[in-house]
């Protein structure tokens, strides 16, 4: 502790300095108020002993300035005085003095007073230090929350894109929501949503929503099934979350036609399929454990399938709804929820939430509360941006020998290669069909000489493929040539497939009306429909297909 002695009389200064240094205090001397302030501004001082009557700046003048300088931290000022009257004491206290010592100095009293004030000073310093730390941490948390909030709002973007499909209400108990509600559409036009409830609430509960949302959006964009999405989410959450944390969830897919629902349900309260009046058509009970608990090999994929119509709606909610308590500690419960659904025709989530609020008499919300109602509507086809095609023409020849015919999957490989060309990938299913039909025709009839009529017999379909497999095993030498020509200007892909075999006459016209009954011929008809032109050479062992990319 450093003590500043402010006195214009050198004798007093020396006396006090000696006494204090014996007590192991550091002592600094100033001869008037102005000097004292200068020292304060330059060095650390803990206690000020201040004379009243001094030249330049006296003690009464200096005291308030010293207090100002000290700011929030307690800086004890002990007046050195010979005065004994009450008015002088009051004056000393009024300008900020904390105590007095009288001349002549009593060593015991001086040391007792210094020690007492030093203790207070130390406590004040500590308190101030802690306050600064608290402020620092508070600011840091504020800043971090802002950043995290920003990330969350971007990651869980709840845009109004899906208003027609869904009416939802989310109200977190704190800044961050431990419930998540995600919606997305697949490329096939199906509508997906996920309602999840992580253990607890607040930021700790909300962090899991980030990886979960990424997985959900990525898998929906590939049009995956709800149980595959659940499997993946379970795996990731199981590895990320601490073992006491998990996520109760419902993952719903409404098919593009709006006629069927697939639901994977783990750990959430019952879902209700309701009609316009709010009557329950079907209750969907949770089938599985929440996500993030089971190891992948224990995970259960079973889903619930429902046939629905456009007047029906699916209600899903986290336990925050049924577990809302009133002041008597009673829960809102399923029965009140079921009643609320019937309270008006085409009930809204807003209205259900109002019911719970009225029930709880508007007391503070204890848990995150989320509710959503899905309208079972058919999807609208999302207009695709126009496809851009490579401007580079090319020709490609593939010779497929007996080894590759017997053991490889040359058409799939060829389609994979062609799909890499800009724009052509969009047509890969059609290209596969064309090449597969022509190639298998060449293998079955040109190379192996099999008779498709076998397929028309009872169980002939399997017999045919068994015959084919054993014929392939015995295949000695064969060659099928596939040529591909891409003409970007014409916007066409030309394929020619020849088998150098005996050829055949396509019975195309005969089969046109009996296509469904006849086990063969269907392939050629498909080929004709998908391609722009199909023709055989005169011997029937080479087929040329022109496919239009437009």
């Amino acid at each position: 502790m450093r003590v500043l002695v402010v006195d214009d009389q050198p004798l007093n200064c020396i006396l006090l300095k000696t006494m204090l240094e014996q007590q192991h205090y550091e002592v600094v001397i100033a001869n008037d108020g102005a000097q004292a302030l200068e020292i304060l501004s330059k060095s650390e001082i803990d206690i000020v002993l201040l004379d009243v009557i001094m030249p330049v700046m006296n003690g009464f003048e200096a005291a308030p300035k010293i207090k100002d300088f000290a700011g929030d931290v307690y800086m004890p000022i002990i007046f050195i005085t010979t005065l004994e009257d009450h008015t002088s004491f009051e004056k000393c206290l009024a300008v900020g003095g904390d105590d007095f010592i009288h001349k002549p100095f009593d060593k015991v009293i001086l040391s007792a007073k210094i020690r007492a004030h030093a203790r207070t000073r130390r406590l004040s310093l500590e308190a101030n230090q802690q306050k600064k730390q608290l402020e620092y941490h508070y600011n840091q948390i504020e800043r971090e929350h802002e950043i995290v909030e920003h990330i969350f709002s971007n990651a869980l973007d709840q845009s109004s894109k899906y208003q027609e499909y869904c009416d939802y209400h989310l109200s977190p108990a704190s800044m961050f929501n431990g419930d998540m509600f995600l919606m997305a559409k697949s490329p096939m036009g199906g509508f997906y949503c996920l309602l999840g409830d992580f253990t607890g609430h607040g930021l700790a509960a909300a962090v899991g929503a980030l990886p979960a949302s990424r997985i959900f959006y990525a898998m929906v964009s590939k049009g995956m099934a709800v149980n595959d999405i659940a499997y993946e989410l379970n795996q990731v959450l199981n590895s990320l979350l601490p073992s006491n944390m998990f996520c109760a969830a419902a993952i719903v897919e409404l098919s593009e036609s709006g006629k069927s629902l697939s639901v994977w349900l783990g750990g959430l309260p019952d879902l209700y399929l309701i009609n316009e009046a709010g009557d329950i058509v079907e209750t969907l009970e949770s089938q599985h454990m929440a996500l993030g608990i089971l190891d992948s090999d224990e995970f259960e994929r079973n889903t619930i399938h429902l046939e629905v119509d456009t007047s029906q709606r699916l209600l899903m909610a986290t336990d925050g709804i049924i577990e809302t308590e009133n002041k008597q500690g009673e829960m809102f419960g399923e029965q009140r929820l079921i009643q609320a659904l019937k309270s008006t025709s085409h009930v809204s989530t807003e209205r259900i939430v109002q019911h719970t609020q009225r029930f709880s008499e508007h007391s503070a919300q204890q848990d995150d509360l989320s509710i959503a109602i899905i309208n079972c509507l058919p999807g609208k086809v999302i207009a695709k941006p126009p496809v851009e095609y490579s401007s580079l023409p090319f020709e490609l020849g593939v010779n497929i020998d007996e080894k590759n015919i017997a053991s490889a999957d040359p058409i799939l490989e060829l389609v994979d290669v062609l799909s890499k060309v800009k724009g052509i990938g969009e047509h890969r299913s059609n290209i596969f069909l064309l090449l597969s039909e022509a190639y298998n025709n060449a293998v079955d009839h040109g190379v192996l000489g099999l008779d498709s009529d076998i397929k028309n017999k009872e169980d002939g379909f399997f017999e045919f493929y068994q015959l084919r497999a054993s014929a392939l095993d015995k295949l000695q030498s064969a060659l099928i040539e596939v040529n591909v020509k891409y003409s970007p200007q014409a916007g066409t892909l030309n394929f020619s497939i020849s088998d150098f075999g005996e050829g055949f006459r396509p019975k195309l016209n005969q089969n046109q009306d009996t296509g469904l009954q006849q086990e063969h011929g269907r392939g050629l008809r498909l080929l004709k429909e998908i391609a722009k032109e199909v023709y055989f050479n005169s011997s029937g062992n080479e087929v040329t297909i022109i496919y239009s990319l437009q």
């Binding site: 096939m188 069927s260 079973n302 379909f461 392939g523």
Partner: protein, 101 residues
Amino acid sequence: MSLSKNASADGKTLTIQIRGKFDFNLVQSFRQAYADVGSQTQKVVVDLRETDYMDSSALGMLLNMKKTLSDSVETIQISNCRPQLKKILQISRFDKKFDID
């Protein structure tokens, strides 16, 4: 190329999902997938969401399934087809025989 099957929670729906390529290479496993369909199963869903490729042999396999199951199962649904595959089914008039969703 793979095939997986899954019974729904209530056992009434069997879903057969085909990934990648649907053609005669699956002839055995596809037949096995519905071979043990019991009286409890009311509906079979062939889920083509992850099917990229299909040819006429797949159509034949679907018709075979229809023949085998027509007495025991109420509906056979072909669901989540990509547009090009849906067109193949339509050209082949499968929409008359199957519930294409």
